[in-house]
Symmetry: C2
Subunit: 154 residues, 2 copies
DNA sequence: CCGTATCCATTCCGATACTG
DNA sequence: CAGTATCGGAATGGATACGG
């Protein structure tokens, strides 16, 4: 996404979109969460050309979303694995998923669902909250200049 | 996004990405949340060519993300307004924003922040939860076949 | 099996000019 | 102001062939 290059902007949305605001990247992350670890797994799961997958995977390695690690089973090859930064994309995928479930499917239509490993139940809905945990409606939010405070991390 | 057209897939992520998985669309939504309502406002805010903006806005109208309404001030023209479906994209923007804040900014670097209209405080972090409200880690989630149950709405 | 290199078609974007 | 029409250049995507 080059456009007029907003990558250096001080808007976290613009900067994020420059890195992951691309169809394939998020689909690769989706498959990684599903357990895909090898080149061929991503390729079969997504049905994209190898050259494209190659470029995307390398960029995601460069961006620190994926990393290459020795094969889990002890094979000679290496496998792709989500970094912590990549794992944190799960929230975005869930948000996208829940929006799609609400607005892009008919009732009764089959779909893939996310369930907690522990209870096997569909995960809860994401909620916008104020600092003290109360729910906020989508329109009760403003945007203003600020600074990343270290105390906000975590 | 044409690719191999996953739009009809039963994966909500793929289907969502087919509709909003595009750089400009989410940036337009971002500006709409910031208060942009007119063609020229979007154009100035995003710095994109008019022909592109024109196509994007029309598609978003078709998709029911935006709608045209009589000018708020009583002017002769009409203005773009987020539909309910569009307003629900706020959660996705917040998820994208928080990820970017965490991984794409240095401490102390200036950035735009979202604050609750009511208390003026930065909004809380999105949390993945199980059905009963307990927090879930990003890796403690599985994906399986399912159906959109009407009882899950809301 | 894991990629890279090449080629071609399509799409996307920006600039500009133009209409109502 | 709010778009539409056109054009050329750049990037993207798919297919295929090739190399480690």
């Amino acid at each position: 996404m080059r456009r007029t290059d907003l990558g250096g902007a001080n808007c976290p949305i613009a900067r994020s979109l420059d890195e992951i605001g691309d169809w394939w990247t998020l689909m690769i992350v989706r498959d990684a969460f599903r357990g895909a670890r090898r080149f061929s797994e991503f390729q079969r799961g997504l049905g994209l050309a190898k050259n494209i997958l190659s470029v995307r995977l390398r960029k995601m390695l460069d961006d620190g979303i994926l990393e290459l690690v020795p094969a889990a089973g002890g094979g000679a090859h290496r496998e792709y694995q989500l970094t912590d930064k990549g794992l944190r994309l799960r929230v975005i995928l869930v948000a996208i998923r829940q929006w799609g479930e609400d607005h892009l499917f008919e009732a009764g239509e089959p779909m893939m669902v996310m369930v907690g490993k522990e209870d096997g139940q569909p995960i809860g809905r994401l909620r916008l909250t104020s600092k003290d945990g109360r729910s906020i409606d989508p329109w009760d939010i403003d945007v203003k200049d600020g600074v990343r405070g270290t105390e906000d991390v975590g």
